[in-house]
């Protein structure tokens, strides 16, 4: 399941310096994702997280992701 999220995020943030997906519990439904991308430059944290939610809309909607932690950084 981590691979699916990894692919979705890499597709949504092409050229991102870092995309990391951690399965926090090993159960395939509690994730911590980290994305470092120039796309976040100048955006509020709220808008940065919205971009991540957009990328993961499908696994969020179908219940795959029970809990999601997000860390975003601009690629400064």
């Amino acid at each position: 399941m981590s691979e699916r999220l990894q692919t979705l995020l890499e597709d949504a943030f092409p050229g991102a310096r870092d995309v990391e997906v951690v399965d926090r519990t090993g159960g395939g439904d509690h994730f911590h994702v980290t994305v470092v991308s120039t796309r976040f430059a100048g955006l509020s944290l709220l808008d940065q997280h919205r971009l991540v939610y957009d990328a993961l809309a499908e696994p969020l909607a179908d219940g795959t992701i029970h809990e999601l932690r997000i860390t975003t950084r601009g690629d400064a």
Binding site: L45, L46, H49, R50, Y53, A57, L60, A61, E67, L68, R69, I70, T71
Partner: protein, 130 residues
Amino acid sequence: MSDLSARIQQTIDTEPVVAFIKGTHEQCMCGNSERALHALRSVGASFTAVDVLPDPAIRQELTVISSWPTIPQVFVGGELIGGADIVQELAATGELEAKLNEKLGDSWRNGGEERTVDVTDRANPLRLVP
């Protein structure tokens, strides 16, 4: 707009700091909700909690209003601030206090008072959860 949606919107509009969480301020049922409340407490903010668990429609209507897919959701002065990760990060950098000051003046500490209200009660909107 449904009655429930109207009551959720009213809560967002009238409560200075409101956190939509799983559980209550006294009995939090989710780690992320707990992290959001902990961040608010760390700066000494007074807040009103809304438990989304009693009725799935609360979360559905809230998400329509906020366009934010997950719980918790923290609003200050009617504006969505973010979920647990953002509120925690803002608290750590001092930006949460700055946002509270900007939106609410100096009234937001209010002795760190905490309460949970029930938005599902038609007859008595914003009834306190005992």
